[in-house]
Symmetry: C2
Subunit: 296 residues, 2 copies
């Protein structure tokens, strides 16, 4: 079975980790949101790609929830002396990732190729693909203006209410993503924020059409009326006036065949109920297996 | 008395430190070689400017002889995993300097302004000026080809014999350097390598003419037939077939009025003999005072 998973931040990456423990590299392709990417200190930072890469290489800091384990912050300290922007905390080891990615992009390499180089160097065996090669920032229309995601989420601690999410003009995905989706027997939507992790991928040309032709399973990012992590519950309320629920979170995915949701939650489409909160690595693997079994 | 000092690497910077302890900011301008500057990991690295800046802000690592004290090397370790070039060791705190300088240059700021910003942030009160704003790499013609300085010195450990040093086409200095030199009562050549630290500055348009009109004192970088540090002794031999001596090191400075040299050494021009090796901060200050007294 050929599987493609669409994912964004920390929650989705946990399921991706479980899928990688269950499927061989030739069976799984990971397509990652790049709508949160931004330029910081002149460097191209790709938070979701890095979360996936650091998690799959077992370098991620699980306690902090982002970045690298055993990280140090000496460049950041020095940057603060220089009056550099310090609202987004770049660690020293993490900085090497952004410096090298930026340099390779500047030399004309595609983000797809750069991501492959970084992942290979860290021993990630499964294929990690950015959703597209060109920058395509997701903008949040808020009462404090139109803001890129990181500026709103990290810089302003997600305080301004979001009225609308803007995904930009039509744009292509990559040949690699297109081919992987065309070839897929199953497409999984990881339990990531629909607005800022999954929708930016779906907004690319042709993706939804492919999803309509393929078996799609979505794992709910809402559990018992709350997001496990992140701003989704508030966004559901502010953007669509919904009380946060699995039903609301999955409502706008009209191409999904099956929803995997928490015991006690419900959705408007066929569902599989299971325990969806992933606290341990075993939880990740078990949920991945549940998704794959539901597809068979 | 208005003083300008021309300097390059570690040895010259020790005298600069002594001059800064002796002269007020309005009495001293420091003009620094940028011929060793290069791009590494896509970042603009200015080794001599940084040596001056870190020394004057008392952040330099005196034991290692370059870079910052209490430095860490985690970005470098990560870079090595990515297959990044590791022959030039960038520390984590140092990296913040290069990242911010690169970003500001890319936005169109002049190196002169960027250097001012960095120095001010670190509390350097005296004016530090790059010799010019545009890149102007010194090239060493060696039996291994034409090499930029750092690649030869650090990358190849100064092993290939140098036949000739190339300073590039005529180019202007900056308005700031021109004005400081025109205004100077005394110009000091710090005990830096003439080939790769001082000559790159002298090779800029109009500098030597100004030196001919002004009192110039040179401090010998050769002491009892040896360079205190660095490749000068071998370069004197390989380029000009000279046994290393203060006389040889100063021979091609035909605009120098007075040489400050070690007891027992000699030169072809009027000399002041003193102890020129700077092991302690007191040595730096004493030598600076000797130079200034010789000028009066």
């Amino acid at each position: 079975m050929k599987v493609v998973v669409l994912t964004g931040g920390v929650g989705g990456t946990k399921l991706v980790d479980g899928l990688c423990a269950t499927l061989a590299p030739e069976e799984l392709t990971i397509v990652v949101n790049t709508g949160d990417d931004f330029v910081h200190w002149g460097l191209t930072v790709c938070p979701d790609l890095d979360t996936v890469m650091y998690t799959l290489s077992d370098l991620a800091d699980h306690e902090r929830g982002w970045g690298l384990r055993d990280e140090t912050w000496n460049a950041l300290q020095m940057a603060e002396r220089y009056g550099g922007e310090a609202w987004f905390r770049l660690g020293d080891r993490d900085l090497a990732t952004h410096v090298h990615r930026t340099e390779w992009l500047r030399r004309g390499e595609r983000l797809t190729a750069v991501t492959q180089t970084l992942c290979s160097a860290l021993g990630v065996g499964h294929r990690v693909l950015p959703m597209c090669d060109a920058p395509r920032p997701t903008l949040l229309r808020t009462d404090a203006g139109d803001l890129p995601f990181q500026e709103w989420f990290v810089g302003l601690r997600a305080a301004p209410a979001v009225a609308e999410v803007l995904y930009g003009d039509p744009a292509p995905t990559t040949p690699e993503v297109s081919a992987a989706l065309d070839d897929a027997d199953l497409i999984v939507l990881a339990p990531s924020n629909p607005y800022v992790s999954i929708r930016p991928i779906l907004a690319l040309d042709g993706i939804v059409d492919t999803l309509r032709r393929t078996q799609v399973i979505a794992v709910s990012p809402i559990v018992h009326g709350a997001a496990v992590k992140g701003p989704l519950a508030a966004m559901l309320h502010d953007i669509h006036g919904c009380e946060p629920s699995a039903r609301a979170a999955l409502a706008r995915y009209d191409f999904v065949d099956l929803a995997v949701i928490e015991h006690g939650d419900d959705a408007a489409i066929p569902t599989v109920h299971t325990h969806t909160v992933m606290r341990t690595r075993a939880d990740r693997i078990r949920l991945a297996q549940t998704v794959l079994e539901a597809a068979r």
